[in-house]
Structures are given as C-alpha cells and as structure tokens.
C-alpha cells in the first residue's frame, strides 16, 4: 500500500487519467443500469402496485394479457385477494383544451375487489361512476389535468378524469383505470367477465379454459421485457470486462517502465511479494476511487434528468456493481503482476 499510494501521489496525471477512465466506464454502467431498471419498472410498476402473486389468463393467450379473455361461464370462484381485470388497448383523445391523442390501455376494475380498493392515487379519487376514469400519473407531464374530458377511440360518450394513479405503467404503456362495465362496453358485451384475474395469493389452476401463472412467469413473458433486460445486462457485462482489460493494460504499461527499478529492488532482497502487493493494491485504489466518483457523477446526473425519462437506480445494486468493478479491475492487475514475477534480481546488472 505504501508504494502504491506514494506512486499515485507522485504521478498524479497518469493515475488521474486512469481514474477518469474508470469513472467514465462506471458512469456508463450506472446510466445503463438506471435505464434498465427504469424501463423494467415501466413494464411492471402496476403489477407490483397490485401486489400480484398469480395471474390467471385464458389458455390460448400464450401468457399475454392482450390476447386473454375470460368468458363469464368459465369464471372460477373468486377468493379474497383476487381481482377481475379487464384490459384493452385504447387511444384516448383529450376533449378539453388543446387536442391530444395518446396510446394507453384501459384497465377495468370492480369496486369491491382489492386492486380497486388499494389503488394508490397521487391526486383526485377513484372512479365512482361508469364514466369516470383515473389516469397514470405520468400523463400529467403531457398536460392532462383533473376534470379533463377524454374520449376513447370508437366510443361516443366522453369520460371525466377524476384522479391520477401512482405506478400506472404496465408493459411500457400508461393505464386508464375505469370500472369493469366501461371495459365491457369497449370490448362489446357482458359475455366476457374480464381479461384476467390478478391475485395476491399463490395458487395453481389449470382448467380447459384457464391457467394460472406465477408473477415471474407472467412478467418474463411481457412483450419485450426479457429481451430488453438481457440486452442491458449484456452491455453492462461487456463494459465490466472492458474496464478490467483497460486497467490491466494501463498498469502493464506503467509496470514495464518500472521493471529496471524493480530488478534493483529484487537484487537488494526486497521480496517479490512486496512489489506484487503494491501493484494489486494500486489497482484496487484506482478502481475504488473511479467507482465512487462514477456513483457521485450518476447521482448528480439524476438531479438533472427530466421526470419523463424512465430512469431508476437501485443503490444496493449500484454498490454491488461497484464491488464487482473493483474486483474485476484487481483481477486485471494480475496481467502486470505476471510481469513482476518474471523480474530476476540479475536483470539489475544488465
């Protein structure tokens, strides 16, 4: 540690540049992580807000809510914790003020069931009449306000916005909460009970018409969700490995320049281990400083991000990634360590 710190202090520019490099890579990693989690949240925010443990869909729907319809005749007996959910893609157009069209999804709920009862609002109240709706809170950034009148494409009667719901995103699309009759009107009749049953219980069900899926199965089958997460995870993984190689190569070059000195030290009987420890701990110091700086930079950036940007950072996860970055950088230092181990005391006299 003595040699490591002294050298970093003496060659501030060299090591400053390496730290800057690590910082930028770490910054990129955390920005990607933030986007990954932010987008994942826009996929699953509603499912989590509903405390979903199990989802019942019609069997032919291929675990896709959009394709699922449950006939009234097929409805299983409901228990506490179960909610009927009617879902339909809709286009809403604002009737009040400047016209605006927005793709959304209608979620029809029953007032006596848990999702409706625990619906968390940031303002207004829950829909109490058939023609009242609650919008996803992030639609406020598009200018939607309480009391606005909207129409669903293909529907004659207009609806009134009476509230804004927290966590109103499902599969990247904002939710329009209404009651189940509204959904039935959009879908075209009462022969369908709902699109799905979202339950807070864990259970199994497999009938000719319906099948129950655990939350994880359902979420992983959300269109695009798994592919998106894998893409981000791969990018983060590659960046980690690249940073490991960069730190290894930089330290390799710096170590090459020090080999004649190291040979003299070895001739004087300084153990090779002292020099190895110096290089490895140097890598650790560089990675820790770079990691912390990138966390700081990420935090500062978050202050300036627009609210509409899907960005969410889990600090425990970010700290875990910093740890992994430090570990990998230290592994990268094993490249120059090989060089040091090959230094012969005899080289000092050549």
């Amino acid at each position: 540690m003595f040699l490591a710190i002294k050298e970093i202090k003496h060659a501030k520019v060299h090591y400053g540049l390496i730290i800057a490099m690590v910082t930028l890579i770490g910054y990129l990693i955390f920005m990607l992580l933030g986007l990954m989690l932010g987008l994942a949240n826009e996929n699953t925010a509603a499912i989590d807000a509903w405390s979903t443990k199990t989802v019942i869909l019609s069997k032919g729907a291929n675990v896709n809510l959009n394709q699922s319809l449950i006939k009234t005749a097929d409805l299983p007996p409901l228990k506490a914790g179960d909610s009927l959910v009617g879902q339909s893609p809709v286009v809403i157009s604002r009737q009040t003020g400047a016209t605006h069209k927005q793709s959304a999804q209608l979620i029809g709920l029953r007032a006596d069931q848990p999702i409706y009862q625990h619906l968390e609002l940031v303002s207004g109240h829950r829909p109490q009449k058939p023609r009242q709706v609650v919008l996803a809170a992030n639609l406020r950034t598009k200018g939607y306000r309480l009391g606005d009148r909207i129409k669903l494409a293909g529907q004659k009667q207009s609806l009134t916005v009476v509230g804004f719901a927290k966590d109103g995103m499902l599969n990247m699309t904002p939710i329009v909460y209404g009651n189940l009759q509204l959904w039935q009107a959009v879908k075209g009749g009462p022969q369908f009970a709902a699109s799905a049953i979202f339950s807070q219980r864990t259970f199994q069900l497999d009938t000719t018409a319906l099948k129950a899926y655990p939350r994880a199965t359902y979420v992983n089958k959300l269109p695009g969700y798994t592919a998106q997460n894998k893409t981000f995870a791969a990018m983060i993984g590659f960046l980690m490995i690249i940073s490991m190689i960069i730190i290894g190569v930089f330290l390799y070059i710096l170590t090459m320049q020090k080999l004649p000195n190291y040979a003299v030290l070895r001739a004087q009987g300084i153990p090779g281990r002292t020099l190895t420890v110096a290089t490895v701990s140097q890598a650790a110091v560089l990675m820790v400083s770079g990691g912390l700086l990138s966390l700081l930079l990420t935090r500062l950036t978050m202050l300036g991000l627009p609210a509409s940007m899907p960005f969410q950072l889990s600090w425990p996860l970010a700290a875990g990634l910093t740890g992994a970055l430090v570990l990998l950088g230290t592994v990268g230092a094993l490249i120059p360590v090989k060089l040091i181990q090959r230094v012969q005391p005899l080289d000092a006299l050549r």
């Binding site: 000195n261 003299v264 009987g269 300084i270 005391p345 000092a348 006299l349």
Partner: protein, 223 residues
Amino acid sequence: MNLIELKQVSKVYGHGVSQVQALKEVNFAAAPGELNLVIGPSGSGKSTFLTIAGGLQTPTSGQVLINGQDPAQLTAQQRDHLRLTRLGFILQAYNLLPYLTVHQQFELVDRVKKDHLTPAALQTLLTELGIDQLQAKYPDQLSGGQNQRVAIARALYANPAIVLADEPTAALDSQRVQGVGQLFKTLAVKHHKAVVLVTHDQRLLAFADHCYQIEDGQMTQLS
C-alpha cells in the same frame, strides 16, 4: 573471517559455438574492513563476477560462500533474505525509485527489514555523505553524484556486512571520483564492511587494500 569466498569459480554462458566463458577458475576472498577493487575492461567479466559474488546467479563450476553460506544450496526466498540482510548493492542506475523522496527510500527499507540503522545513525550517515538536506527531494531533483550518494546511504541503511558496487564512478567527473573512492574506503575502515568494487576506472586504484585485475574472465591479484 571472509564474508565472501569464491573458489575455482567458472561461468559459461550459452552452448556450442555461441558459448562464452565469462569467468575462468576465479579465486577471490573479501574480509570486513577491506576495500577490494576488481578492475578490468568492458566485457572482461566484471558484472558476471559481481552477480556471482552477490548470489544473484550461480556459477557453472566452483564454490561460492557468502557469509558462510552457499547460495546454490538455498531456496530463492532464502537467497532474497540473504541479500536483504547481508548485502548492499549499489548499481550503475535505477537504484532509487523515482516516485519516492530520499526519506521514503529509507522508509521502504523499514517496511521489509527490522534490523536497520537507528534514526540517529542514519542522520550521522547522511551528514557524512553531505545529503542530509535532501531528504524531501525526489531522485530527479538530484544531481548524478547526489543520486549515487543517496543510493550508497540506502544500501548502508539496511546495515549490510557486505557492500557490492558496479562501476560506482561511471557517472562522475574526476573530482567526484576522489570523493567516492574516499567514501568507500571510509565504509570499509570505519564501518567495518567488506567492500567490493568492480570498475574499469584506474583512478580508484589508490584507495584499494586489495586489487584484482580481470581480463577475459581470468582474475589475477595485483598486490
């Protein structure tokens, strides 16, 4: 008692036609309190001799004893330890780490070796060498002569019984050569070290207790 002894030591580099016999049946001994000078032209085998006498490499044949131990019989770690505790090397270049101040060069020794000079003894040594004012300086802020004196102080700080130096006057002007000769003489006499200098510099002859000439790997004692 002799701290270094070489008996019938030969060293051959390479094989077949490219084979070079760098040392031929060399006999040599160094005792504490003596300045031994090995003088010879470039390519005569001086560095080879010094590395074998310092346990950095082993001879092809013959026997070497350093502080009574044969380095060929020791493990690499034990040889490291022998050099760390008994030998002080002063080489032509790279003796000092560029990123440590003069004072920190000594601190590095502290960290790997318990048995070093006391702070008072170090102070005396630095004053004697005329470098006590330079402790906060980095090697690149020192002149060639100052660099070398710091290297000498660093080697002595570890309190070795044997001091080995390769071409210690290579970087110095005439005036300095006298100073360095005197300094090594003092090391031997006053600090009771076994000092071995290898050089091609005839001007150092005046300071030597024992003089050896080396030519084409063959060593002869001059006086």
